[in-house]
């Protein structure tokens, strides 16, 4: 299944150009997917992990702060309740009914404890019996009020905040007292809420953070920085709280994302609320997020660049190697074609040679007989005719021998050969070309040239290739020089020089490279790489020196015997 997908992606029958661009496209897509998917996955996972981690880190201190502050509030209220309770147990109903006494009590607790505004005594029927404080409440009946009823049931009561005298926010605390004879009375005190504000401001809240108290109906019990003043309705939605602190993330009335922690009082029906705008709380997170995004996009850019570059290099390499393979194939086909032609012509030449030998002898005999016979009519004519036949046979002989000499052999046959002799043969073969192009051939062949062991056919091929190149390099009336002489150790050297166009420097260093072609040379002969290969096979060396515009010299050194091939042949 996977293989099928791969095949579908990479193997298709279209034009070569389509093939390469499709290959390129698919490699790019696959490499990008393979490299960016894990990166993106990692970034996404990291994103959410960091986010939840940071959120916890941000909310945890808020929780702690809320709990601590709420505890302070609880402690304060509890203390005040304890004071009232202490008074109720220290004094009896009669003591407190006396206005002088109750005023004394108020003065002494005001001296010791902050926040107390007034104090009042209520009997079991809800009537305010005595009162010390700035209001004139004496005689007021509380029996119908919720606070009275709640105090009767719970034993104590803490009210919501209300605006009292001088428009200051206050709360009311009440404690029930049971006498030994079963009578019940209530001591009631009003306390201002300055302490609330000072406690909140001592919390050490982070910047732009709001903290305030609300009651269970959502009415503000203290002033809030952003969400209204005391006794106004708080616009925020609160989480459900019963006994434990709780938090939510939400949006406030100004459409700002916020963290909200709510902590309920155990002693009163207040809730401490801390509100922290997310934009402030998450500043470090936003910085991290930005860094992550920047890193992601930089990595992405590097990956894309690398993938594109690598794919380009890869495709170029594939393309070049395909082209090289094609060139080599073409050369191979060409060589095989030449080899087939060689074998065919050798066969034909051999078959023709025998009848040619017979014609030669028959015509020779005719000529002999005519010469021996007495004069007869047209004798000279006959002699001319037989001579013409013999001459034609000679021409044919030359052709068949040339063809046979050039028969290509697939197996290398090492035999003693004379290079000078082969040079003459090859020049005979190229005679037409030389004449047609009016090339001057200078032969500087050593008469004492040692014969070497090599393959005649291959040496012929080398000579044909190099001479064809030399002829191509020179213009009409150009000069090609062939030189041979002995070296030490039975080696010989063969030099082919021309006065042609020469070879540029950048080409010369690659000239024997097995895969090197200059486009304009395409299709002219077997190429120098094959010549190089043959010379190497025969244990020889080839070198070239050239000056552009002045000509080139190819020097070939051949050993007495090609060492590598000796074993194969014997």
């Amino acid at each position: 299944m996977f293989n099928k997908i791969i095949d579908a992606l990479f193997f298709f029958n279209r034009t070569p150009q389509d093939h390469y661009s499709a290959l390129k496209r698919n490699i790019i897509i696959i490499m990008l997917l393979i490299t960016t998917l894990p990166l993106a996955t990692m970034i996404i996972i990291n994103y959410f992990q960091y986010k939840s981690h940071l959120r916890n880190q941000i909310i945890a201190p808020l929780f702690a702060m809320a709990d601590k502050t709420r505890h302070s509030f609880d402690l304060f209220l509890d203390q005040r309740l304890a004071i009232i309770r202490f008074i109720s147990t220290t004094y009896n109903f009669e003591d407190l009914s006396n206005e002088q006494n109750i005023k004394k009590v108020l003065i002494s607790i005001k001296k010791e404890w902050s926040g107390f505004v007034d104090i009042g005594l209520i009997n079991g029927q809800g009537d305010l019996v005595s009162y010390a404080g700035p209001y004139s409440l004496l005689g007021k009946n509380y029996s119908e009020q919720l606070s009275f009823q709640e105090t009767q049931i719970k034993g104590h009561y803490i009210s919501n905040v209300f605006l009292g005298f001088r428009k200051y926010p206050h709360i009311v605390m009440a404690v029930q007292h049971l006498t030994d004879d079963g009578q019940t009375w209530i001591l009631r005190a009003t306390i201002d809420t300055d302490f609330f504000d000072s406690l909140i401001s001592s919390m050490g809240l982070p910047r732009q953070t709001d903290a305030f108290l609300i009651n269970r109906d959502g009415i503000l019990q203290t002033n809030s920085l952003y969400y209204g003043n005391t006794l106004e309705k708080c616009p925020l939605e609160l989480p459900r709280v019963n006994f434990k602190s709780n938090s939510i993330e939400g949006i406030d009335d100004k459409n700002q994302a916020i963290f909200l922690v709510a902590s309920p009082f155990s002693i009163a029906s207040y809730i401490l609320v801390i509100v922290w705008p997310q934009s402030v709380a998450l500043q470090s997170w936003y910085a991290l997020k930005t860094e992550m995004i920047i890193i992601f996009f930089i990595s992405l850019a590097i990956i894309i660049f690398a993938v594109l570059k690598m794919t380009h290099v890869l495709i170029t390499r594939i393309k070049t190697s395909d082209e090289h393979r094609e060139n080599v194939l073409t050369e191979l086909q060409h060589a095989q074609k030449l080899s087939s032609i060689g074998r065919l012509s050798a066969g034909v030449a051999h078959e023709i040679n025998n009848p040619l030998a017979i014609i030669n002898e028959k015509a020779g005999l005719m000529s002999d007989l005519i010469e021996l016979s007495k004069d007869f009519n047209e004798k000279t004519k006959f002699i001319e005719l037989t001579d013409a036949i013999l001459n034609s046979v000679k021409r044919c002989k030359k052709i068949t021998h040339r063809l046979l000499g050039f028969s290509k052999r697939i197996d290398i046959k090492i035999e003693p050969i004379n290079i000078n002799h082969i040079i003459h043969e090859v020049l005979d073969f190229l005679e037409k070309d030389i004449l047609y192009r009016k090339i001057e051939i200078n032969l500087l062949l050593s008469e004492s040239l040692a014969s070497i062991h090599s393959d005649q056919g291959l040496i012929q091929q080398i000579l044909v290739n190099l001479l064809t190149n030399a002829f191509a390099a020179v213009e009409e009336y150009g000069r090609v020089e062939i030189e041979t002489h002995n070296l030490t150790d039975g080696r010989i050297i063969l030099k082919i020089s021309d006065n042609g166009c020469g070879i540029p420097k950048d080409v010369i260093k690659n000239i024997f490279d097995p895969f090197f072609t200059t486009k304009k040379e395409k299709g002219t002969g077997l190429g120098l790489s094959i010549t190089y290969g043959i010379i190497k096979k025969l244990g020889g060396e080839i070198s070239v020196s050239s000056k552009p515009g002045e000509g080139s010299v190819f020097s070939i050194e051949l050993p007495d015997k090609p060492t590598e091939l000796e074993v194969n042949n014997e």
Partner: protein, 130 residues
Amino acid sequence: MNNQHINILLIDDEIEFISTLAERLEIRGYTSKIAEDGESGIRMLANESFDIAILDLMMPGLNGLDTLRQIKTIDDTLPVILLTGHGSTKDGMEGMRLGAFDFLMKPLDINELLQKIKLALSESQKGGHE
């Protein structure tokens, strides 16, 4: 030198060729005998004395080089001129190594052949005297 006394053995499977060549040699005064293959050539050589042998290298049955080897075992001094239809000189060279006097390419140039025969005979005579 009188050609009449010179007995030439021609060994070649191509009868049209060899018979005509024999006739041409006889016109020039030589005595020539024809053998159509290597075996009969060797047989003839065993029964009769020849001054020189002309041997084709390309023959069916016993080939030219093997025939040459056997000739040399019978008469080491007999000069042998080899004929070859091949462009390759390899067999010719091998023949030379085995003791042939020279080798010529088919189709023959009659004058070249006559010259080689004379040369071979004069050399063998020299050798004989020594």
